[in-house]
């Protein structure tokens, strides 16, 4: 509040002084009629300034947080530059200010130009106003309490206008030199604080990472959030717990500027007057250009943030983010992280209804942590690209949904090599092939179901599913699709409809009927077509492809080797084979990337795929496999062992190909 009050008072006073002097001069020249032109200029300038202020503020608000920090940094630096220039200029010109103005006004009057008067008032107010706007936006950014900051600014402005009017009316005598010296000192503190804050926001924007050790900790004297702390920060412009860099830059600015402000004026009045009479228009012009240039710069910078999501690269190390699940939902609901490998460490405060954390890109689940109960901590990792994502903690009351802002350079997500691209392209081809095979198979299967041909539908069931089982992790990435297509009965929530393959499976084998399945069959066709379309635009990285392979084997271990997947048809071995085939395709796609990192691991894994297929071979029967119920414990154990021997080394692959 204090800082904005000083800004409002100081800048407002400068503008009102200029306007007051012009007005007083006009009055003395019996040209009160020209005053309305002056007011018009003032109004126009004030509107422009308010508009600029609002624009800067809104632009800042709409930016993702890290880019906001960047914009705040730019604004703060511009503001500091402006105020510094002003302190210097005022010190030089305060003694001669009113005379220069009178001369200029007389010149304008002499040429009879109302436009000249409007122009003078407009420019005077615009110059101060723009400074004020930039400065206030910066000060608002630096403040925790916007309301009191706004009140401070308004009070300052009001006082400034009152003083300006007083001077105009002739009732107030102000020693401008002393006034500007006093406010100059205060402003120096404010500007030093802003500079220090700029360094802080630059750090948060990821532009500056040096000197981040805490220099001193005065929070004992100035407890966080206390009035004392507010006053301290308000007066000295610096946080009670500054980093080394923040303290250095604060002092580096403050000391010379205060020394300059307090130093006795060296300007020789006559020479200064003579010089300023000549320089005044030039300086005004420069000031105007500078300020407008500064504002433009800020806008350009804003544009640049939007356009390129720029920001220098932060270290590509893993970012760890703690998320707590509570009854409300996710805490914190809104997260900002730099692009790149990110680990979410999800814990619970004991919330009963909220046990899951997901990061969504549209409707696609990027990463999720499930079954996080009290006392448990689950870490899930993903490589995030810059952008805005949704987070959700299903079942939360007030914070079920949140946002995840990923800042920084796309390059932070790892350098994409030609091998990476080739790996993804290879897998993408497989993905598109499989979903393209899936659609007609499902159509034929659905047709049999709708025609009531139970025998044919049963015959088609397992081979129809196979392309889906080969690419299942990708389908799972589209959060809503996999449940519709492939949900198992025990996963169907209360009140949810049991749809997809397994619904049809149940009716076919348990009821030996297709009754009531028409809509389910149509829906399945629709959903796999949807999948076929969606995979065309999915973005993949080698690590995701490799992770898909690991997940496919996880699927086999969890639901195929246990016979849970196809509990009615017992065609689990066909799914088993398809999962492993899918994993192999994914592995082969990333293999060139892997070989560059760890050729021995690649050599270890490849034969294990063949070993699994060999282990499956004895159970082939016709087009498919023997019923899962025909397997003995020893058979299952052999299959399970072969799978483990493949899955264990395969689980090392994603880390190798993450780049």
């Amino acid at each position: 509040m204090l800082s904005t009050f000083v800004i409002g008072l100081r800048e407002g006073l400068e503008a009102s002084l200029i306007v007051g002097i012009i007005a007083a001069f006009l009055a003395s020249q019996e040209r009160r009629d020209a005053l309305r032109w002056v007011w018009a200029g003032v109004a126009a300038a004030a509107s422009v300034c308010v508009a600029v202020g609002i624009a800067l503020h809104v632009a800042g608000e709409e930016l993702p947080r890290k880019q906001q920090e960047g914009l705040e940094t730019v604004i703060a630096v511009v503001a500091v530059a402006a105020v510094t220039w002003m302190i210097v200029w005022m010190k030089r010109h305060a003694p001669t200010l009113s005379r220069e103005l009178r001369e200029n006004t007389a010149a304008a009057l002499a040429t009879g130009s109302a436009l000249g008067l409007i122009g003078m008032a407009f420019l005077a107010v615009l110059r101060e106003g723009l400074e004020t706007a930039v400065f206030l936006v910066a000060a608002f950014n630096a403040s925790n309490d916007v309301a009191s900051s706004a009140i401070g600014a308004l009070l300052g402005l009001a006082l400034a206008i009152a003083i300006g009017y007083g001077i105009y009316a002739g009732g107030v005598k102000l020693n401008l030199t002393k006034f500007f010296k006093a406010t100059g000192v205060l402003l120096a503190f404010v500007a030093a604080g802003l500079l220090s804050k700029a360094l802080h926001t630059a750090h948060e924007a990821g532009w500056w990472n040096g000197l981040q050790d805490q220099a001193v900790n005065l929070s004992g004297l100035f407890p966080n959030g206390s009035i004392r702390a507010t006053l301290f920060t308000g007066i000295f412009g610096i946080d009670p717990r500054p980093s080394v860099g923040e303290l250095l830059i604060w002092a580096a600015y403050l000391v010379p500027v205060i020394a300059f402000v307090l130093a006795p004026a060296k300007a020789r009045p006559a020479a200064a007057a003579a010089a300023s009479a000549v320089q005044q228009p030039a300086i005004s012009g420069r000031a105007r250009n500078g300020l407008i240039g500064g504002a433009l710069l800020a806008f350009l910078a804003t544009g640049a943030f939007f356009a390129t999501a720029s920001g220098s690269s932060s270290p590509a190390g893993n970012e760890e983010v703690a998320v707590k699940l509570s009854d409300a939902g996710c805490e914190p609901a809104d997260l900002t992280v730099p692009a790149g490998p990110t680990t979410f460490v999800v814990s619970s405060d004991g919330a009963k209804e909220v046990t899951e954390f997901e990061v969504l890109d549209g409707s696609r689940i990027l990463v999720e942590a499930e079954n996080v109960a009290a006392g448990l901590e689950r870490s899930v990792s993903v490589t995030l690209k810059p952008g805005t994502y949704e987070t959700t903690c299903p079942g939360g009351t007030t914070a079920e949904m949140g946002t995840l802002t990923v800042t920084g350079d796309a390059d932070d997500a790892g350098t994409v090599t030609a091998e990476d691209e080739a790996a993804v392209a290879t897998y993408r081809t497989f993905l598109e092939e499989q979903t393209a095979i899936l659609t007609p198979r499902v159509e034929a299967f659905a047709a049999a179901v709708k025609a009531g041909d139970v025998a044919k539908a049963k015959r088609l069931f397992s081979s129809t599913r196979q392309p889906y089982e080969r690419v299942e992790p990708v389908a799972e990435a589209f959060g809503d699709l996999d449940p519709k297509i492939d949900i198992r009965i025990n996963d169907v929530g209360e009140g949810d409809e049991f749809t997809g393959f397994h619904r049809i499976e149940r009716e076919l084998w348990k009821e030996n009927s297709t009754a009531g399945l028409d809509a389910i069959a149509d829906q399945l066709v629709h959903d796999v077509k949807d999948l076929e379309q969606r995979v065309k635009t999915i973005e993949l990285e080698p690590a995701q492809v490799a992770n898909g392979a690991v997940e496919l084997l996880g699927e086999v271990s969890k639901s195929k080797i246990t016979g849970e997947e196809d509990r009615y048809s017992h065609t689990d071995l066909a799914d088993f084979e398809a999962n492993v085939e899918g994993a192999k395709a994914a592995f082969e796609a990333v293999r060139p990337v892997l070989v560059k990192q760890d050729a021995a691991l690649a050599d270890l894994i490849a034969p294990q795929f063949e070993a699994v297929f060999e282990a499956l071979a004895p159970y082939k029967s016709g087009d498919g496999f023997v019923s899962y119920t025909d397997l003995t414990s020893a058979d299952k154990r052999k299959l399970s062992g072969a799978l483990d021997r493949l899955a264990e080394p395969l689980s090392q692959v994603p880390a190798k190909v993450v780049g």
Partner: protein
């Protein structure tokens, strides 16, 4: 069974136990500071030194918990076995000092090298005792790994014995690890991670949890009770009796096994429900000791000398000739003694009968398994206890000597 293709020792060490090697140095230092475990005395703290002339977990005072695991070798290459034993040794050095076998945190894209459930737990006197089954040296008459010439003199599958009702899925195994500690999570963590490290060279064959010790292997220990409610192991060998240990437990020949031993494991299922309906007198006559005091029937103290010829006022032997202690007594078995180190187990219900699946997981160490065969041949035929027990699992392993330094590994004499 799938054959591993082109597997190398290096890749195993890399994928499995690289981190364990890092911890080995620390383990070596720890063991040096604590001295060797030769005499089996109770060390201070809760770390039992891994290094020593004998493997720990034999003469070590019996810990409270057991997890016993057996493995089938999947590779017929001796190099692979050597690599596995090296990797296990390095991991065991870390685990027995309470360290992880690798990082739990670390690369977010890789599965953690250590599974993590022992983080924050102490070593809990963990010992890991490794054994090699007969299948390592010969399988189906085949010199499988080219190690047949190295087969320990007394290592052969336990022959069929009277009263056996063995289940193949609870019997045998090419390798075994006996993990004992005072914390069941510590034993679980150890076996779990060693199993992981073993892939793809060996896979688990069967495991057995023991929830409470039934043996006293040191004079410092009180005699625990088995699930029949009787004190078990009163007359057991104790580690402090070094002469007896040398005579009965440690292998003393000049083979690579010198300083090692043999481990016989038997899963002995108790018909708990019938036992609980037997009268106290019947129970005591079956065992040959008094239930509450543990004293031989007719004697006062637990440690009173067992007099098998003492008769009661009715002229009958006080300790019946077919009682368990009488039949197992050294004087009836040519002076044979073994070091018993068994644990009580329960694996829930026998699904088909709805009765408790519980009993004694018998582990014994001896310098020849023939000692056990002699004892059990007698017990299996005559023991009154047979009415209440069934031997359902059986395995035998040669237990290599201890690892002297962090350069050696379990069974290194075999590859010298």
């Amino acid at each position: 069974m799938a054959e591993p293709h082109g597997l190398t020792r290096r890749s195993l060490l890399r994928t499995g136990a690289a981190a364990g090697a890092g911890a080995a140095l620390g383990a070596g230092v720890a063991s040096a500071a604590r001295g060797s475990q030769d005499d089996g005395g109770a060390p201070g703290g809760d770390v039992i030194a891994f290094h020593g002339a004998h493997q720990a977990g034999i003469a070590t005072p019996a810990q409270d918990r057991l997890l016993f695991a057996t493995f089938d070798l999947l590779s017929d290459a001796a190099d692979d076995l050597e690599a596995l034993l090296r990797a296990w040794t390095r991991a065991a050095e870390a685990l027995t000092t309470g360290r992880a076998v690798g990082t739990v945190g670390g690369n977010p894209y890789a599965p953690p090298a250590d599974t993590g459930e022992a983080q924050g737990l102490r070593a809990a006197r963990l010992t890991l005792t490794f054994g090699l089954g007969p299948g390592v040296f010969e399988q189906g008459g085949r010199d499988r790994l080219g190690l047949r010439s190295q087969r320990p003199a007394h290592l052969a599958p336990i022959p069929a014995l009277p009263g056996d009702e063995l289940e193949p899925e609870r019997s045998g195994g090419d390798l075994c690890i006996q993990a004992c500690a005072d914390d069941p999570q510590v034993t679980f963590h150890a076996i779990r991670n060693l199993t992981r490290i073993a892939r793809p060279y060996a896979q688990l064959r069967w495991t057995q949890v023991g929830f409470g010790r039934t043996a006293r292997t040191s004079r410092t220990q009180a005699t625990p009770r088995n699930l029949m409610g009787f004190k078990d192991g009163t007359a057991n060998l104790v580690a402090e009796d070094r002469a007896a240990m040398d005579e009965h437990v440690w292998v003393g020949d000049d083979s690579w096994l010198r300083g090692g031993s043999y481990l016989v494991a038997r899963r002995i299922s108790m018909t708990i429900e019938s036992w609980d309906r037997a009268s106290l007198a019947d129970q005591e006559q079956t065992i040959g000791r008094e239930k509450v005091s543990g004293a031989p029937i007719g004697s006062a103290g637990e440690f009173d000398e067992l007099d098998l010829s003492k008769k009661g006022s009715d002229g009958k032997l006080l300790v019946p000739a077919d009682s368990h202690v009488a039949l197992a007594h050294p004087t009836r078995n040519g002076g044979i003694r073994i070091l018993r180190r068994g644990y009580s187990f329960t694996d829930g219900l026998q699904a088909d009968l709805g009765q408790l699946d519980a009993g004694l997981f018998f582990i014994a160490f001896m310098n020849s398994p023939e000692r056990f065969v002699t004892l059990q041949a007698q017990l299996g035929r005559k023991d009154a206890l047979n009415e209440y027990i069934r031997h359902v699992g059986s395995a035998v392993f040669a237990v290599p000597p201890g690892v002297g330094s962090s350069r050696g590994f379990i069974g290194d004499g075999l590859f010298a």
